[in-house]
Amino acid sequence: MQVIQLALKDLKLLLRDRTAAFFILAFPVLMGLFFGMMMGGTSGSERGKIKLAVVDEDESELSRRFVSALERNENLSVSAAKLDTAREQVRKAESTGMLVIPQGFAQSAGIFWEPQPELQLGVDPARAAEGAMLEGFTMQAMSELIQYRIERPADFLPSLAKAREALANDTQVDLVTRQLGAPLFRAIEQFIAGLPTGENAKAGEAPNNAVAAPSIQLAQIRKIDVTSKAQTLSVGGETFNLRSRWDISFPQAMLWGVLGCAAGFAISIARERGGGTLQRLLASPLSLRQILLGKALACLLASILVIGMLTLLGWLLGMRPESYPKLAMAGVCTAICFSGIMMIVSNLGKSEQSVSGVGWSLNLVMAMLGGCMIPVMFMPAFVQQASVVSPVRWAILAIEGAVWRGFSWGEILPACAVLLGIGALGFAAGTWLLSRASQDGGR
């Protein structure tokens, strides 16, 4: 009963401390909304586009088709520019990259047996990852030109005749090859001449949908829908059942709230020690363990309250947890874990200020490493491996497992077990440290 009274007193104090209440209640909501909006929706239309400045020095029909193909790419925001202007835009980070279409582009572009025109792609060095994507999108646009060429066999025939003639007159090539090559070229010419033309194809329509001509692709690219179910353990499985931006941002926000609770209550223990109320509590019939249990219970209840509040807010915005019982379990285990960590942190400084400094520094490291700022799946492999030491990682895994990863009980339990273990260890270590500190007479 006294333990509950202790917890209620701490919750009352928490609500009356505006700064602590902000960091525990308002800050996580702001973080959730901020990261949710930053991530954008799950549909491409809402996502930020890569800005590409295109310099068309050829100004041919084919180069315009190529630019048009780039413009149809929903991931790109294409603008026409002169060479110097494009270069300035990239230098000033106004564009991610610039693409120069050289003069003579139309002569050989899309004819796959001719040397291809050299496109010049300049990318902002600070955005190398997007540069790689630009290369891919450029190749994709080029593939459309190949199809365009095939739809117009007449465009190919002069080039083929020229090649046949060159072969026939090339004395460096042996006679047998020249004699075999001539009929082969004629057969190709006849095949192309017999293909249906794409004259009736509507302008702007995707070529592979518009004609029945054989399609040629420079690369096999398969688009995956990250919002639909995919196999667990596959790349797509990482985004299993992700339905909205809030599915990722709100688990993160919950962790910010729990971290705020842990820091707030760690500071409150330091405050009790510095202010003398801990001495009065210790002089009461309560044992040290009961006093700390009261603190842990208050931290636990506040954390659960924050998780509940953010679940409700997330639900109102569109988050739809797959399993509420699993979310409840993940939430409780997370709250226990950080209540335990709070007990240790409260002993890592002698004053309120030092505990606050240590607590928030530790929180930031755990949050960064554990995926509270950037989802772990977007981190480099070695950071992903290192993140297993952060309790935040396990907490987010458990909560995400319940919200959108579709974890089974068997899959969510290991993460919960880790959280409970850390919580128990933290409580034991915190009790021991505080007991030792109180026997030092505050020295």
């Binding site: 003398g276 001495q279 002089a283």
Partner: protein
């Protein structure tokens, strides 16, 4: 150990690392008695009180308070403690502080309400019951600190420097409150470095320094034993020659020591001595402390 003593400490020792805080302290306090522990800052008073209330484990020695070990929760239920630091929740109201601490001592319902009302009246805070402690003056906080210690009607009350940092008005209020508690038969263990408080409030005074008990007795007995003679200082208007062997007068100023200063002065005037000013300094606890330690209590 004897069950009739309210507090019994035997050869207590406590060190913090290489620093000895309490060195062989032994005390006996009788039920209903107010014992003052007088000593300068750093003398080991607070450490002693922490051992006696079960907050600290002594390195060696035995403690019995209210008939048991102060580490026992049932014994602690019978103890009241007003720590030197103001042990209050600043963001709770006076009534909420009383209610919270009352709960810890199993007070509930109408009993708790009655005791909260008593505590507010005891601290003189009836009209500030719903105000947060953070808005109180130092004196008001001290009074509330004392009221909380008394809320559950303990058998033994430990007061650690209960008047530090308070204004004279609040100090008087606290003195009156403690006097009221004394008269009710409560056993009080009172630590202070103010001689006036020890003299005024305590039945017996224990003088401690460097963690050691130097003397323990009633104030008059301590003064009689360790205080020495009264000091007489006067500006002399007329000083008969026959008195020159009994006191020294230099540049018109007389300085003399005497166990019975009034009788001494009467004998001087009887033979013709006359004074322009006259001052008698009787020995006090300061003199006792000076005599026992060779230094002033205020050092």
């Amino acid at each position: 150990m004897s069950a009739r003593l309210a507090i019994k400490a035997l050869n207590l020792r406590k060190s913090f690392g290489a620093i000895p805080a309490v060195q062989g302290l032994s005390l006996e306090v009788f039920p209903g008695e107010t014992l003052g522990l007088l000593g300068p800052n750093g003398a080991g008073k607070s450490t002693s009180i922490q051992i006696l209330t079960g907050l600290l484990q002594p390195d060696s020695g035995e403690v019995e308070v209210a008939g048991g070990n102060p580490h026992d929760p049932s014994v602690r239920m019978r103890l009241g403690v007003a720590p030197q630091a103001l042990s209050l929740y600043e963001e709770l109201t006076a009534a909420e502080n009383l209610s919270f601490f009352g709960n810890l001592y199993n007070l509930a319902g109408s009993q708790l309400r009655d005791r909260i009302a008593w505590g507010l009246q005891f601290a003189g805070l009836q009209d500030r019951a719903r105000h947060r402690v953070s808005t109180f003056s130092g004196g008001m906080k001290r009074r509330l600190n004392l009221a909380i210690a008394m809320l559950h009607e303990p058998e033994v009350l430990f007061l650690d420097e209960p008047t530090v940092g308070v204004d004279p008005q609040s100090r008087n209020h606290i003195f009156e409150s403690i006097a009221q508690l004394r008269s009710s038969g409560l056993t009080i263990h009172y630590t202070t470095h103010y001689m006036e408080e020890a003299r005024r409030l305590c039945d017996r005074v224990a003088i401690v320094d460097h963690g050691k008990l130097l003397a323990l007795d009633t104030v008059p007995a301590l003064i009689a034993t360790y205080g020495g003679e009264s000091q007489i200082q006067a500006e002399v208007a007329q000083w008969p020659v026959e008195l020159s062997s009994r006191a020294t007068v230099e540049a018109g100023i007389l300085r003399a020591n005497s166990a019975k200063p009034l009788e001494e002065i009467a004998s001087w005037t009887a033979v013709g001595a006359r004074f322009q000013t006259l001052q008698i300094n009787s020995p006090d606890l300061e003199s006792v402390f000076l005599s026992l330690t060779g230094r002033s209590l205020r050092d």
